[in-house]
């Protein structure tokens, strides 16, 4: 039963659209035609693109993890004034619309920009830097969330037995963090491997990923055969990455001793991670600063004109609604998407956190875990086009759903579910089974155990999951652009539209709207932090 709801949800809103579209590409004259594979895989271009995809995803993941772990140490295991603000701020890049990030990055990197001397515009390095910019927060928050509730005593014991801080960290703490680390790494890998807008805007013509190629083949050439073959290739890459991550996790899976409230942080951060993190934060701040400065630059100097314009529909009525109305639409959609994602995601997490005794059942759980991650590994254009194909009148519904806007929160929830799962699952998995056994021994029924043991421990991570889901929904553009009602555009859609209009004022307004979106996201994440219960020295 718990399995049926999420399976039905993802089956109808994800698997059916995607398989329908891929099926169109692989079925010719009523029979399966696999000759497309030989043809598409025989193109040198295909292999170049697959290679580039793997290279940028691997590099982006490794760098995000290497920088993110010190970040988690500083932001989650130590105390200093302003920590709460920084925690919220590092999440901002994660949900900024790619169109805004592209503008900010290129303003920095172009020949006459502040970082023009590096000559990075349109290079591979620029793409990887942007991927790290987007995904640093994923590592920091996923790892930090587990870290701040790790029982510090094992590490203290190691220290008192004479281990150096480094040794204690490497032999005690790091292994305990592995579940969260692999979770974060597999997420980041998926995000990097399926990056789209960033790669197009920053990579120019020379770089492409499987994702951008699928988009071009589908939207520009309608070469569904090539797009389907590439989709299959993409899923194979994603499944392989997930399998590797799953194995790494399984080897290290263990019951952790978690503490109920975040550990009272141990005072000032260690200098090494502190320095690394300070440098990273400055680098993260640069594009954001470029964005803010751009939004304050007016025709004759500096001012808040572009922010005042947010209450209008832009120069020459560029928009159908004011930016504030679009913000309202975004918030409404995000509430819906978050509720959906949370219900489905928590059920999935619960299901996948079980450790059945039978090996076959255990394997099934492992497979399910991977299956629910797939939405992150399939391109938005495939989902969007597939939804237009299949979800007009599903189950004989009389109204054409494609014209109602109902599919927008649904599509966003599909993208957010894996994030919810990855946020809640490490905590659920780390619940000490002896606690559950003790409760059962004392006569608690399964429901009661769930509520008082698993539920109580996972509740904290649910707060973070809410923040993530809400933030993802606020920033989602790919699927939304196919499905949103033109009379009810979301904020990222409005930003995209403003930036696509001539007139310096519309450009400034787009940047101002981007800043508003960034602040809103930071606010949501900060509020989600508060939901997680009393954390000392918060804000």
């Amino acid at each position: 039963m718990a399995a049926a709801v999420p399976l039905l949800f993802l089956g109808v809103f994800f698997a059916w659209p995607v398989l329908t579209l891929v099926g169109r590409g692989l079925v010719a004259d009523g029979s399966l035609d696999l000759s497309g594979f030989a043809e598409v895989l025989g193109r040198p271009r295909t292999w170049r693109i697959v290679g580039l995809t793997l290279a940028q995803a691997t590099l982006g993941t490794v760098i995000s993890v290497l920088l993110g772990v010190p970040g988690a140490a500083v932001l989650y295991r130590s105390r200093f004034p302003g920590r709460g603000v920084l925690r919220a701020l590092v999440t901002v890049p994660f949900v900024l619309p790619t169109v805004v990030v592209g503008v900010a990055f290129r303003a920095l990197l172009r020949d006459n920009g502040p970082l023009g001397f590096l000559h990075l515009d349109g290079t591979f390095a620029a793409i990887v830097a942007a991927l790290v910019f987007f995904n640093y927060a994923v590592v920091v928050r996923t790892v930090g969330g587990l870290w701040e509730r790790l029982d510090p005593r094992p590490e203290q014991a190691a220290r008192s037995l004479g281990a150096s801080p480094a040794r204690a960290f490497l032999t005690v703490t790091l292994p305990a963090l592995t579940p969260a680390l692999t979770s974060a790494a597999s997420l980041v890998f998926l995000f990097c491997a399926t990056a789209f807008g960033t790669v197009l805007v920053l990579g120019g013509m020379r770089f492409g990923t499987v994702e951008t190629e699928i988009w071009i083949q589908t939207t520009q050439f309608l070469d569904l055969r090539a797009a389907s073959v590439l989709s299959v290739v993409q899923v194979v890459v994603v499944v392989a990455a997930l399998a590797v991550a799953g194995r790494a996790r399984a080897r290290r899976e263990r019951a952790l001793s978690l503490v109920d409230t975040p550990v009272r942080a141990v005072g000032r951060p260690h200098p090494l991670p502190a320095v690394v993190t300070a440098v990273v934060l400055v680098l993260l701040a640069l594009p954001l600063a470029a964005l803010v400065l751009g939004s304050l630059r007016t025709g004759d100097g500096w001012g808040l004109d572009h922010y005042r314009a947010l209450g209008t529909t832009g120069g020459r009525n560029a928009l159908t609604v004011t930016v504030w109305e679009a913000l309202g639409n975004s918030l409404r959609v995000a509430v819906d998407a978050t509720v959906l994602a949370l219900v489905v995601g928590c059920l999935v997490a619960l299901l996948v956190s079980r450790r059945p005794r039978r090996p076959a059942a255990r394997r099934a759980v492992g497979v399910l875990d991977g299956v629910f991650m797939l939405p992150l590994g399939v391109s938005a254009v495939t989902v969007g086009f597939g939804a237009l194909l299949t979800l007009g009148h599903p189950f004989g519904i009389a109204t054409d759903l494609r014209a109602t806007g109902v599919l927008v929160p649904v599509a966003q929830a599909v993208v957010a579910v894996p994030l919810v799962v990855r946020t809640v699952l490490p905590v659920l998995r780390a619940v000490d089974p002896r606690l559950q056994e003790a409760a059962r021994t004392l006569g608690a029924g399964p429901g009661r155990v769930l509520a008082t043991v698993d539920g109580a421990l996972a509740a904290r991570s649910v707060g973070l999951a809410v923040g993530f889901a809400f933030a993802v929904s606020l920033g989602e553009f790919g699927a939304t652009s196919f499905l949103a009602r033109p009379d009810r555009p979301t904020l990222p859609v409005v930003v995209f539209r403003l930036i696509g209009q001539p007139g310096a004022d519309n450009y400034g307004m787009a940047l101002a709207a981007g800043v508003v979106l960034a602040l809103l996201t930071a606010g949501v994440m900060a509020a989600a932090e508060r939901l997680r219960g009393p954390v000392g020295g918060e804000l």
């Binding site: 039963m1 751009g294 509430v335 237009l388 194909l389 014209a403 033109p486 009379d487 001539p502 450009y507």
Partner: protein, 364 residues
């Protein structure tokens, strides 16, 4: 037996839950108000009509409401993407059309849409239909021209004046070493102005000559940005975003936007010898639920009120000769006298080949 019953019950429960989740979304914060319900007035088409457009479709407040009041129709809009994506979605969803009427198919994709049979012929009888006629892609009556525009290179006057360098005038000028590293265009594979400019070069240098032109252009330090806004705001020195290149791909209608606050002359100009003419069409979709409503909407797009609104709302030129252009357009944004052209059937037959060749050329 009991097991199957239990299983069936589970499925029913689950289905009920799934539907409940859907219902929750439908009547939730988003407040999806499905536009069903035929509110047909007497003697009017009545009911609802769904308009499918590209994502830049926009008319001033009140126009659509006036149409609804006049006809008793309720208009629902769907905007699932831009030029190429829009046509391809219509082709994909032929069996369950996205709506009743489409606006925003342009001449680079028109033949494809007609060949794939996504449109139903309709010949409008409103006065402006006579103005639209010469732009028809074929004589089937499938598509009716609504507006047009020229994709042209724009130059930053101040940049050239400050350096005492003469402004370029032709496509060939751009390969002159004097203009090295000064030009930015957009990706022909992913942006509609980029594709239009590629076609301008095909029109100018012929099917066998355009490749060499692009080789020369690339060798002369050409920059290819992803889309119009990247080129215009990030790379163009005259777009207000502080870029460094004084020659950028944009539209004939862009210069008026660069008239300084206090009035006066625009700081940029379009090179009218480098243009490709884009025409945007409307048409009734095959399999429309409300073909009569769709036809009324096509008529409405050709009405004086909408035609006069098009320059201000969509930066395109109305097809109708009965309406006046905005003053600053009349003065600063003339259309090209002789834009480059490529026959539509040739575009349909070769577009993908050309775009692939172009991609290989430019990425080197």
């Amino acid at each position: 037996m009991a097991r199957t019953r239990a299983a069936r019950r589970t499925i029913r429960h689950t289905a009920a839950l799934g539907v409940a989740a859907l219902a929750l979304t439908a009547c939730s914060a988003t407040g999806g108000s499905p536009s069903g319900g035929s509110a047909g007035g007497d003697g009017t088409a009545g009911g609802s009509v769904t308009l499918v457009t590209h994502d830049s479709f926009h008319v001033s407040d009140g126009l659509l409401e006036q149409f609804e009041a006049d006809t008793g129709l309720t208009v629902t809009q769907v905007a699932p993407g831009d030029g190429g994506a829009l046509v391809n979605q219509l082709i994909l969803t032929k069996d369950a059309p996205l709506g009743d009427v489409v606006y925003g198919i342009d001449n680079t994709f028109a033949s494809r849409a007609i060949d794939e049979g996504v449109l139903e012929p309709y010949t409008s009888q409103v006065p402006a239909a006579a103005d639209a006629e010469p732009y028809a892609p074929d004589d089937s009556g499938s598509l009716t021209a609504v507006d047009l525009g020229d994709v042209c290179l724009n130059v930053d006057h101040a940049w050239f004046a400050d350096r005492d360098v003469p402004e370029p005038a032709t496509l060939a000028d751009l390969t002159d070493p004097a203009y090295r590293d000064l030009t930015v265009v957009t990706n022909a594979a992913t942006s509609s102005p980029g594709l239009a400019f590629l076609l301008a070069t095909v029109g100018a240098f012929g099917e066998d000559g355009w490749q060499q032109y692009w080789r020369d252009l690339t060798a002369n330090g050409l920059k290819v940005a992803e889309g119009w806004s990247d080129a215009y705001y990030t790379d163009f020195s005259g777009g207000g975003g502080g870029g460094s290149r004084p020659i950028a791909l944009s539209y004939a209608s862009s210069p008026p936007e660069t008239i300084p606050e206090g009035g006066g002359e625009p700081t940029t100009g379009a090179l009218l010898g480098t243009c490709f003419r884009q025409v945007e069409y409307a048409g009734v979709l095959a399999g429309a639920q409300n073909p009569e409503g769709a036809r009324r909407l096509v008529d409405w797009l050709l009405s004086d009120a909408v035609q006069a609104d098009i320059p201000g709302s969509m930066y395109m030129y109305p097809v109708s000769s009965a309406v006046d252009l905005p003053e600053d357009w009349a003065q600063w944004a003339p259309l090209a006298d002789e834009p480059y052209t490529v026959p539509l059937d040739e575009i349909a037959a070769n577009r993908e080949t050309w775009v692939r060749e172009w991609t290989d050329l430019v990425t080197g």
